[in-house]
Point group: C2
């Protein structure tokens, strides 16, 4: 028996939190998409699929907050590694600051 309201609320929360967490994780260490899905799960508990992560990364790339480069593997499929641009770092700071401010109102 799932609670439909809270389930939906979680989904809506992610719309704001995902970009923040993804930038935060990449800021610590350059990552590729599939890895990000796992690290995000580990760190935040968010269980998102590829159909959420890849469009998000593409968006952040287009916005100029991320840059990517393909890295061939000795074996297996090449990986697309993402890192923060200068603008990405600056935006991440602003987002964290805004989050701190907002959450101090209620928590």
């Amino acid at each position: 028996m799932k609670d439909e309201f809270l389930k939906n609320w979680d989904t809506q929360m992610k719309k704001g939190l995902l970009p923040l967490f993804v930038l935060h994780i990449i800021a610590e260490k350059t990552c590729y998409g599939y890895e990000l899905i796992e690290r995000l799960k580990e760190i935040t508990g968010f269980d998102i699929t590829e159909s959420t992560m890849y469009p998000l990364l593409t968006r952040l790339l287009k916005e100029g907050l991320l840059e990517a480069k393909w890295v061939e593997q000795n074996t297996g499929i090449p990986r697309k590694y993402y890192s923060l641009t200068k603008d990405g770092k600056s935006k991440l700071s602003e987002m964290k600051e805004a989050s701190r401010t907002i959450f101090s109102k209620i928590i």
Copy 2:
């Protein structure tokens, strides 16, 4: 010169935060819609319009987290006052707890 990315991020953050803040404010004191818009602005800085607030209140009503009653005024238009149901109080607690947990990961 507005930053389109941060402006859009704010909007997406609201999709999760608004229900939380609205329930939080109503929990402190029974409120009507127009009043909520002002109190929300005061407390959180969120500048939302009627086209955001009224559908949100209708939703929370339908979900059973809020209940409402019309109150006639000596002068002017009647006000629809909202208060938390038992389920609303319980959901609000869960949402605050979830928020604390999530934000502790990053802030």
